[in-house]
Subunit: 525 residues, 2 copies
Amino acid sequence: MSAVEDLSRRRGGREARRALRSRPIPMAEAAVRPGMLGGQYKPLTDADMQRIHKTALKLLETVGLAQAIPSCVEAMTARGCWMNAQGRLCIPASLVEDTLASCARNFVLHARDPKHDMEPSGNRVYFGTAGAAVHIVEPETKTYRESLLVDLYDAGRIVDNCEHIHFYQRPVTARDMITGHDLDINTMYACLAGTEKHVGTSMVDPAHVDECLQILHVLAGGEDKWRERPFVSQSNCFVVPPMKFAEDACRCLEAAARGGMPVLLLSAAQAGATSPAALAGTVVQAVAECLAGLVYINCVVPGAIAIWGPWPFVSDLRTGAMSGGSGEQALITSGCAQMGHFYNLTVGSAAGMCDSKLPDMQAGYEKGVTAGISAMTGINMLYESAGMHASLLGFCLESLLIDNDMLGSINRNVRGIEVNEDTLSLEVIANVCIEGPGHYLGNEQTLALMQKDYVYPQISNRMSPKEWNEAGKPDIVERAAARKREILSTYYPEYIPRHIDEMIRAKHDIKLPRSVMEPGDPRWA
Amino acid sequence: MSAVEDLSRRRGGREARRALRSRPIPMAEAAVRPGMLGGQYKPLTDADMQRIHKTALKLLETVGLAQAIPSCVEAMTARGCWMNAQGRLCIPASLVEDTLASCARNFVLHARDPKHDMEPSGNRVYFGTAGAAVHIVEPETKTYRESLLVDLYDAGRIVDNCEHIHFYQRPVTARDMITGHDLDINTMYACLAGTEKHVGTSMVDPAHVDECLQILHVLAGGEDKWRERPFVSQSNCFVVPPMKFAEDACRCLEAAARGGMPVLLLSAAQAGATSPAALAGTVVQAVAECLAGLVYINCVVPGAIAIWGPWPFVSDLRTGAMSGGSGEQALITSGCAQMGHFYNLTVGSAAGMCDSKLPDMQAGYEKGVTAGISAMTGINMLYESAGMHASLLGFCLESLLIDNDMLGSINRNVRGIEVNEDTLSLEVIANVCIEGPGHYLGNEQTLALMQKDYVYPQISNRMSPKEWNEAGKPDIVERAAARKREILSTYYPEYIPRHIDEMIRAKHDIKLPRSVMEPGDPRWA
């Protein structure tokens, strides 16, 4: 008799199920894991993708990109690019094809803790945060306040506790940092203090990249160790759509590539404003721009680790404002994801945003629709998939926790339906119908699959109306807020041990108070 | 110069865009319409579908269905079925194949107003309500109250005002109806009083089916007119899973088929309780049961109009309670939809439900994830896609309006990305980059596509945080409640004119007060 059967017979069915559910199971047997295989949703046909590819190549050859910096011009013209009469850097199709044939693929994105390493290639899907929101949403008071450095540390600690958020890219701008230098150094530091999952961040000056690298060498235990397992990537908006290089970002890109820091080659147009209103045209432009970025970085450092980030947004064309929660957003994100598969590149894009200002029903459906559909493409890195509001202007820690439940549910869909002799269940059905009790409640298969096939939410509520009423009508946002406070007041991982912290603070202007990084944090005293 | 250009040059860009947006455009040019073509999401492989099909056939032959009523046994054994030693009706694969070769396909589901007719075949997708909730959710007071007959009329009027809800199946049980007779007659009547979209309803006794048909003949202007354009379908749970006929429902099924009423052949198991916990097994059983129903109805009335409804739900295996908002729900609904395409049948199933008790963020993401993903399969009829809460125990009129926005956004995804010379936008991009203003805001393409390619929500809010703050932080549920009151207190379509109503009331016990069907409705006085 199996342990499951045994347990089931000795106890009542319901109690047995609860007991089984509460037993920890190995991650390898969990219903969902990071990097499940998606790809069953294909909004573009093969012919569509070919046309998008050819149009993008033509754009790169005939329109090119404006404002290339000298080092970019030098590196790229050495490989066959040319400046046209309008001073735009044009890229021949042959160089794009050569780059696609030789660029880095199938790389690991490391985390400080190897258990969080990601392999974002093929149809493997990972969910994470991102953004540069300037506000923290406080849903209990329905207010927006300025986002601060400490919020990055707090959000990191929450992400560290969210099973279905697999990486942590900086979601807010720390508005209490006065200089670009303080912002860049401290953003990275605060993120790393909060989580050992892979961290993404951004930098505005190549000197800051170099300083960040110095810190990373210390944290890694030396430059060689850092280069072996780089656990921070640089989110880089190297292009100002349409088709124009961003000069400072390009300098940071080169510094990152030289320093062994993976980059996210991010093109963030807005359809109808900085890319065509036609959705296919927006995908074309994003593809062209990100191919340009890929060529560029490979001209500077051949084989540099780069996440391909065609990452267009949607405009509400009545006002010109961004609408990250629109249905159109899921479409262009999905189209870009598919183009990433077309090139067999590691592709990241954005979904799970919303236009709603608060964690309400609008926020929920906007996130659910856009993240749910986009994830089915098998996109490798789904950025902005947790916590964002107001089309990226607001970030909410409560939503981060609710979105974690949503992403678990989406990840179950990424995993899909396994069809095999066991799951087809012919014998199980026959037994239940002919000899059995006429239901599957205490069935061995049911007990065995309870945790291996089903995902359970942490914050969301599945009570019946009666139970819910008797429990005092628990509110989803209040529950999330309580969980947030619980994590922030008790969870102090020592990801930057005191002696390392002191070494770093001695050389760099670290603004995150050490006191908030340890129990006794005065904010919760 | 086009009218668009002309308008654009004469007015300021933003004003022009607003003006353009507010001009009505023909439905044929709208960004989304009923019956968009989906099907780009395929969770099952061809091999998976073959195995599911073969396993279902084997189940029908070897396990069969219990509790067949005499007329069913007679009709089906006459076509080669047999009763096995356990008294179960077994169906040979050959009869299933013959039925699949000859059953009704590519039929229209009519509406009283032909503009709402549906053609639910191929990959065309339609969204609608359904259910038998016993509560109305009142979100402003966070309470659940008993659902009443008048709620069916009210919900119908709201559906009539929801662009993206294409049919109206009765979502609640009218608990003020004492007898099954009163329930069946009045449920249908109240639904028809509220909307001219296609109505689905349910009946518990074949005598009620006959009486409903009498009423329908009057409304249609004669039995021949009714049979030409039947605008009410019968949602029929002919099977009690696993693999057991529901006797009363079977009698109603036969009466409907004889009366020319389309039926929804609905198998509503719950994975882990009344179907296997293994998701593939749940799909197998639902497929087998619905194939049995299809054979049955075609034995009784060859060519009867039937929507194929493998409609399994999910259990939370910790408690055995239903979890309509789970990620697993989207998977099994999607798998069933794909099996419908495998057989080239008109397929309907359920998604867009939620476990949340209120229209909150949990409700939003549960609905968005499940309806969004399932719709991408190209499912023909997506039932339960609006208004439902608490895993079908509660129905909310405010959610109906919010879900309408969600379904518009999902429908935009069903439509997909058109890739052609125009949408690829090579020239548009080149012009904007080289000669143009460097953005697409006033571009002719942008103005032309504003309404044709983009969907705008009615209740959801796309303001910036600043605008939202200045507007007094509008709340999504309050906005929906206000819109609900506006519709219910002003919208009195005369779908059952007074003289017809009087004729019907003279013969049938119609409980919906005539007073609520006309302006002056005492509820809003």
